[in-house]
């Protein structure tokens, strides 16, 4: 399998120049710089414009001027079953764990009506998407958080193509540790990976970690606190010191000078976040092994798998019986596909791989940090699924059994 650098086309508007420089360097070493199309920031610079001017992300246009692809997303509290007997309260987009996968075309204008159906505050951050800054979903930085019962409309032009995702950016370690995350796949006709590998099926695997004990404890604390704050808010009695939200740093420092106790003080709070966080369940698309969905393939078929690490841990994913191609990171195609069988993926990252069906059988695909292939410490479980050759599954014969305690 040869990667054709000609298929790597520069985007219409540039990405991070640092990354482009890096890609260019890589390309020079691997395939020769001459084969690269000039990135647009470089073209812009040569045309006398700075790449920044050329790269300005457009403010969302009125609906009279462009046609939007519209989605309705809400967040609610659900009782989700990871495994029989393991039910946890989660914050979930549209009640799904993970949230619904959104698929749009590159360049398409996207409108997301986001409604908060919980008593907590939320936003949506479009992870890896070059949105106009007011739609980036960072509370108090680019927008006010979406209040209970309210709707916020996110608008952006889908760009750049690739495996992206979205998640709540309010109380991020907590809300992300819930299931407030989902895949955003931006498709492109010019996708070099598609052109090169001609894959027939496309899977998305959202990797999740849950510290169910922390989630329960913190969820209850937040709900109790917010119930009281909502009462105060409705009566105009909620102040900056109670919410710990200040107009600026000076106002915060002034409050401390006046004797206000910041909530991070050890004499006021002891959060279990950080070193004490101890995930005890690991999941793929909302389920832990043996309830994870298998990845289906046929002999001679090529499939693409989009991996999205929404958790707080690094995973080391290993596929048995195959070498696969690592083709993209953070949604962006690599300069050169890399053949491997074990892939590390850090929190927040997406990585795409291509699997070719050349070795029929039932093959495990799992985190090789094997403590994550457990359910509450019992092996096997957690972040493990199977690559299943459909024709074998259709025939009589050996089929994988389910073992829960080895």
């Amino acid at each position: 399998m040869q990667w054709n650098p000609k298929d790597l086309r520069a985007p219409e508007t540039p990405a991070d120049p640092g990354r482009r420089t890096f890609l260019k360097t890589l390309a020079a070493g691997a395939a020769g710089a001459a084969l690269l199309t000039k990135p647009s920031w470089l073209r812009a610079a040569q045309e006398g414009l700075s790449w920044r001017e050329k790269a300005t992300i457009p403010r969302p246009l009125p609906e009279t001027q462009v046609r939007y692809r519209e989605f309705n997303i809400d967040v609610r509290t659900v009782l989700h079953e990871l495994l029989p007997g393991i039910r946890i309260h989660l914050l979930a987009f549209n009640g799904q764990v993970p949230g619904p996968e959104l698929r749009v075309r590159e360049g398409e204008w996207v409108k997301v009506n986001f409604t908060n159906k919980t008593e907590l505050l939320h936003t949506i951050h479009w992870h890896g998407v070059d949105v106009y800054y007011e739609h980036d979903g960072v509370p108090f930085v680019t927008q006010r958080p979406v209040m209970p019962g309210k709707t916020f409309v996110y608008r952006f032009q889908a760009y750049p193509a690739g495996t992206r995702w979205y998640h709540c950016h309010y109380a991020t370690p907590f809300h992300l540790g819930h299931s407030m995350h989902g895949a955003l796949i931006i498709e492109s006709d010019d996708d070099p990976i598609k052109k090169t590998f001609r894959y027939s099926r496309d899977y998305t695997l959202v990797l999740e970690t849950f510290d169910t004990n922390f989630l329960k404890e913190e969820f209850n604390r937040m709900l109790e606190r917010m119930k009281q704050r909502l009462w105060l808010m409705k009566r105009g009695k909620l102040d900056a010191k109670t919410t710990a939200v200040f107009k600026n740093v000076s106002e915060f420092l002034k409050a401390v000078d006046e004797g206000w106790l910041p909530p991070y003080l050890p004499e006021r709070n002891q959060s279990r976040l950080g070193a004490d966080l101890a995930p005890n369940f690991f999941a793929i698309n909302g389920k832990s092994y043996p309830l994870t969905d298998p990845i289906l393939i046929r002999q001679g078929e090529t499939i693409r798998i989009r991996l999205i690490n929404t958790g707080e841990l690094i995973h080391s994913l290993h596929l048995h019986g195959h070498q696969f191609w690592w083709v993209a990171q953070d949604g962006n195609p690599l300069m050169q596909p890399i053949k491997m069988n074990t892939l590390q993926i850090a929190p927040g990252q997406t990585k795409d791989i291509i699997i070719e069906g050349y070795n029929p059988g039932y093959w495990t695909f799992h985190d090789h940090i094997t403590t994550r292939v457990t359910n509450n410490g019992i092996y096997p479980g957690g972040m493990l699924t199977l690559l299943v050759y459909e024709e074998m599954a259709e025939r009589e014969g050996f089929k994988p059994m389910v073992s829960l305690d080895q």
């Binding site: 509290t77 009782l79 329960k216 709900l223 606190r225 009281q228 704050r229 009695k237």
Partner: protein, 401 residues
């Protein structure tokens, strides 16, 4: 149910070798270190005249207690039941016949979404409303159903007993019905235990509408309820001594930053005939006398930034004995300030007066006392792998402890 049954039940649970040793229980260590410096004036009858004596300042660490709770999820179809045990000790008053250390809690409990069962030694909960006073027994003569088998002052024997209690809950745990049978400690006039935890000395039932703790600021009534306590008096021709208690705990302002709260409770005991006024100094006799008790309390809790800091409470209480034409009344004013999380300093003033007829029996006609409080409360959870029954998630979003 009698003592034998209770002991057998306890013994059976403890003796079974079926433990799941690999499942470490959730461990809760809780308690309170409480020291007060007490001083006061007592107007007492000495010889042939009344004189006012100053009671020297004394350090009092009664009500200091330590609790250990161990519990775990248990097998079940829905995996939503929890069972455990509580062991607790408290330090009684210096004069109490309960000894230097009293094991106030030693019970087994078991709960699910809509019920809670408890068997063993525990708090009797012989009241409808709890009042904001420094110590549990500050309103013993006014707010509690008294132990009708106690012939000496022993607050621990009034507050705790061996019991079996079943509580049922409906409507997101806002409606509660409680049924309880209890064995009480009986003593003679010298405080010697005549019979401890034998037979049934009390049968109780309570119906209440209440707000679970996480919802305590979410409505007008924190609690409104009525209860009936029956005490069989085998030494009085198998009569049943009944007491009816009704009370309400009202959020005057449900503001979680500045919470005004009104608590009221009324209690009526039809009582027995033939109790002389001088007998009212004996707890058992006072408990058996026809009486009316009423308590009213107004309190203000300041919680800037949702952190409790200041509690001010004013409480008035009255107990009248119509057959003896006697009464006693008490007023308590308290100011408690939290200097750190669950670390309090405070001041409580108490004034008590008794009617003409009761003075001779009790040996005083009025008293005043001042108590400086230093209190440290704590609760630490270890291996916190499930949540309590009444969390907001369990109440409002489906039960999954």
């Amino acid at each position: 149910m009698n003592r034998t049954f209770l002991l057998l039940a306890l013994g059976t649970f403890l003796a079974l070798p079926l433990g799941a040793q690999e499942v470490v229980p959730r461990i809760t260590l809780a308690g309170r270190g409480l020291v007060s410096l007490n001083g006061g004036l007592l107007d007492r009858f000495q010889g042939d005249r009344w004189s006012t004596d100053f009671e020297q300042m004394a350090a009092d660490f009664s009500d200091t207690h330590l609790l250990l709770r161990l519990d775990r999820k248990i097998y079940g179809i829905n995996r939503n039941q929890v069972a455990g045990t509580v062991l607790g000790l408290t330090f009684p008053d210096a004069e109490s016949p309960a000894g230097p250390v009293y094991f106030s809690q030693a019970h087994f409990f078991w709960w699910s979404r809509n019920w809670e069962f408890l068997v063993g030694r525990a708090r009797l909960e012989n009241f409808v409303v709890e009042f904001p006073t420094l110590r549990d027994d500050d309103l013993l003569d006014y707010a509690f159903v008294r132990n009708a088998f106690l012939y000496t002052e022993a607050p621990e024997y009034e507050l705790y007993g061996n019991l079996a209690r079943l509580s049922l809950y409906q409507g997101q745990s806002r409606w509660q019905e409680t049924f309880q049978v209890a064995s009480l400690t009986q003593t003679d006039a010298e405080g010697r235990t005549e019979a401890e935890l034998a037979g049934i000395q009390r049968v109780s039932a309570e119906v209440a509408y209440r707000l679970p703790e996480p919802l305590r600021f979410s409505g007008l009534f924190r609690k409104i309820g009525v209860r009936l306590d029956l005490q069989p008096l085998e030494d009085s021709g198998n009569q049943w001594l009944s007491t009816v208690t009704a009370g309400a705990d009202i959020n005057l302002s449900p503001n979680p930053l500045a919470n005004w709260r009104l608590r009221v409770q009324a209690q009526y005991t039809p009582g027995q005939d033939g109790i002389a006024v001088q007998d009212l100094a004996i707890p058992a006799r006072a408990a058996r006398a026809r009486s009316f008790g009423g308590v009213v309390s107004l309190s203000f809790l300041r919680r800037p930034y949702q952190v409790p800091r200041l509690l001010v409470a004013l409480t008035g209480a009255l107990r009248s004995y119509p057959d003896q034409e006697a009464w006693r009344a008490k007023a308590i004013a308290g100011v408690f300030y939290q200097i750190g999380a669950e670390v309090d300093v405070g001041l409580q003033y108490e004034a008590e007066a008794v009617s003409q007829g009761l003075r001779d029996a009790l040996g005083f006609r009025n008293s005043h006392s001042l108590k400086f409080l230093f209190s440290f409360e704590y609760e630490a959870l270890f291996n916190h792998y499930f949540t309590d029954r009444e969390t907001l998630l369990n109440l409002e979003h489906g039960f999954a402890p």
